[in-house]
C-alpha cells in the first residue's frame, strides 16, 4: 500500500536540479514574477515505470499577472502548480519566484484546490484564520481581514457557520478567502470552480476578479473552462497532452474590470475560438505542432 506518511508529503523522485540549466539565478524573475527554465517532471511509479508528466517548460509570468493554463486531462497542469508551490521538486530545470529559487514549500503563496479541504470542525472564520495560527502571525489582524474577505465573497452572514452548513459554491468561497487572508504575493489555483455548477461559477469568477483587482497578486490559474480562462486572464496558455508542454500563449487584452457582457462581444468570441481551436481537432492540432517542433530543430 502506498499511503502518504503522516509527516512527509507524497514521495518524490530525487531532483537532478541544475541551477545553471536555464540561465543563472540572477537572471530569473527579475521583476518579482515567476520564472520557469526548462522545467521537467518525471514520476517514478511503484513498478519502476517512469512517467514524463511535464516536458521542458520555459515561461515567465509577470508580477501581478493573471495567468491561466488550459490543457487536456493528465497533461501535467497540477504537477506544474505543485512545483510552483514548492510541494514537488522538478526532475530538472529551475523555478524561481521573486528572484529566489523554489526548492522548499513556498510560503508566500495562497493555494486553492479543486476540493476545498475545509476543516469541518472549525467555523468558517476559523477556517480562514488558520493561516495566521499556523504561521504564527497576528490573529486579531487576520480575523479582521478574514471578515473583510468573507464579506467580499458574499459570506458575511456565515462567518460563524460550519462548513457542512454551506453549499459547494459557498465552501469554495471560504477556501478562496483562506488563500488571500495572509496577503500572499502569489495565488495558485487548481481548477477551483470545477465542482461548481455553471451559474455559480460565473459569480465566483466575478468574486475572484474583484478581490484580485483589489490586490494585484500574481495568479496561476488552472481550468478546463475556456470561457472562464479568457474572461479572467491576462494570458491563457494551452498545454499539449502528456508530456505537457506549452503550445501557445494567447494574450487577452480585453479591458478591465471585465463584466459578463464582455462575453457577448466579438473579440471575446474570437479569443475563445483561438483557444478552442486546439481542442476541436485535438489530435491533429497537437500532432501538427509536434511536427513543427521537429522540423524547426
Amino acid at each position: 500500500m502506498n499511503r502518504p506518511s503522516i509527516f512527509r508529503g507524497v514521495q518524490d523522485v530525487q531532483p537532478v536540479t541544475d541551477a545553471t540549466a536555464g540561465g543563472r539565478p540572477e537572471d530569473l524573475s527579475p521583476d518579482g514574477g515567476i520564472a520557469l527554465r526548462d522545467v521537467c517532471k518525471e514520476y517514478v511509479l511503484a513498478d519502476e515505470q517512469r512517467v514524463l508528466a511535464l516536458g521542458g517548460t520555459t515561461l515567465d509570468i509577470a508580477k501581478g499577472e493573471f495567468f491561466s493554463v488550459v490543457g487536456p486531462s493528465g497533461c501535467g497542469k497540477s504537477t506544474l502548480l505543485m512545483m510552483l508551490a514548492g510541494l514537488r521538486t522538478p526532475t530538472s530545470g529551475t523555478i524561481s519566484i521573486d528572484g529566489t529559487i523554489v526548492d522548499r514549500p513556498y510560503t508566500d503563496a495562497g493555494i486553492v484546490f479543486q476540493r476545498d479541504a475545509l476543516m469541518e470542525w472549525r467555523t468558517v472564520l476559523a477556517n480562514v484564520t488558520v493561516q495566521a495560527e499556523v504561521r504564527g502571525t497576528d490573529r486579531k489582524a487576520a480575523s479582521r481581514r478574514a471578515v473583510e474577505l468573507l464579506r467580499l465573497v458574499g459570506l458575511e452572514d456565515f462567518v460563524d457557520a460550519y462548513p457542512d452548513e454551506l453549499s459547494g459554491g459557498m465552501r469554495q468561497r471560504v477556501s478562496i478567502a483562506r488563500a488571500f487572508v495572509h496577503d500572499p504575493s502569489v495565488l495558485l489555483m487548481d481548477e477551483p470552480f470545477a465542482a461548481i455548477d455553471a451559474l455559480t461559477r460565473e459569480t465566483l469568477a466575478d468574486d475572484l476578479q474583484r478581490i484580485w483587482l483589489a490586490s494585484q497578486k500574481t495568479v496561476f490559474f488552472i481550468t478546463h473552462n475556456i470561457q472562464e480562462a479568457v474572461y479572467l486572464s491576462d494570458r491563457v496558455a494551452i498545454m499539449s497532452p502528456r508530456p505537457g508542454r506549452l503550445v501557445e500563449i494567447v494574450d487577452i487584452d480585453l479591458p478591465r474590470p471585465r463584466v459578463p457582457e464582455v462575453m457577448e462581444t466579438e473579440e471575446f468570441f474570437r479569443l475563445t475560438q483561438r483557444v478552442h481551436r486546439w481542442f476541436r481537432s485535438r489530435e491533429r492540432a497537437f500532432a501538427e505542432w509536434e511536427a513543427d517542433q521537429e522540423g524547426s530543430r
Binding site: I111, F113, A117, M119, E120, W121, D157
Partner: protein
Amino acid sequence: MTATEDPARQSTEQSTPAIGGDSSGAARRSGMAPQAPAPRRRTAFRTLRRALAPPLLTLLAMLVVWQLAVWVFEMPSYLVPSPGEVAVTIGERWPLILDHAGVTGLEIVLGFGLAVVVGVSLGVLMVVSSFVDKAMYPLLVTMQAVPKIAIAPILVIWFGFGPTPKVLTAFLVAVFPIVVNTAMGFKQTPVEMIHLSRSMGASAYKTFATFRLPTALPSIFTGLKVAAALSVVGAVSGEFVAANEGLGYLLLTASSTIDSAGVFAGVMALAVQGMLLYGAVELLERLFSPMSRRARRLEATVATA
C-alpha cells in the same frame, strides 16, 4: 429565523426522526409563530429527556415482557428468575456484589488503560513510519482472527491466579480496535490539507496538531468505545478461566449452585460497569473531540428552535 440556522435544523431533524414526538415541527411548517425560547437549563433537560426516553421505554417494555413471560409460562425461578426476583437478589447481596465488582472493575480499567496507551501509540507509529505499518499491518490482521480469549489459559499458567492474567486478557481484546481505528483515523486527513499546511510553513508537529489529530479523533473515539465494551468481556473471560474473586467468579459460583437470580444479578453488575466505562469515554469525546463540540451546537440549535 436566520439563514445559518436552517441547514443545521434540517440535518438534525433528519437524524432524529422518531424522537421529535411533539408537534413543533408541524407547527413550524404550518407557519405558526415559534414559542419563546425556554431557559437554558430546561432546554438542556428537554434535550436529555428526548434522547433518553426511547431507550428507557424500550428497556421497560422488555422488563414487562420478561415478567409476563415468567408468569404466563410459569417458569421455575431456578431456570428463569423474574425481574423482581433479580432485583431482590441484588438488594440482598449488594455488599458482596460491590466487593467483587471492585476487583473486576480494577481489572477492566487497567486492561483498558493499557490498551489505550499501547493502541494509540502503535496506531500513530503505523502512520508515522511506513516501516512499522508494513511490519505490523499483516500481523494485526492475522491476530484479529485469533480468539484472544483462548489465550487466557496460557496467561494463567504464566502469571498465576491474581489479577494480572485478567488485565492482560482485557488488554488483548481491547487493543486491536484501538490500533486499527487510530491508524485509519490519521489516514483520513485529505492530502490537500497536508499540502496547505506545508505551504504555510508548518512544522511536522503543527501539521499533526492542527490538521491530523482533529481529523483522526472521531475515528479514535469509535475505537475506544468498541474497546471499552470488549475490555469487560476480556476481564470476565479471564476470571472464568481461574479466579477466586471478581464478578466472573461470582457468576461461576452462582451458576454451579443453579442460583439463576445470582447469575442475573452478576450480569447486571457487569452491564453497569460496561456502561460506566462507555459513558466515561463518551464524556471524554464530548470534551475533546472538536467534531462533537460541533454536534453539540447542533443539538442546542434544535432545542431552542
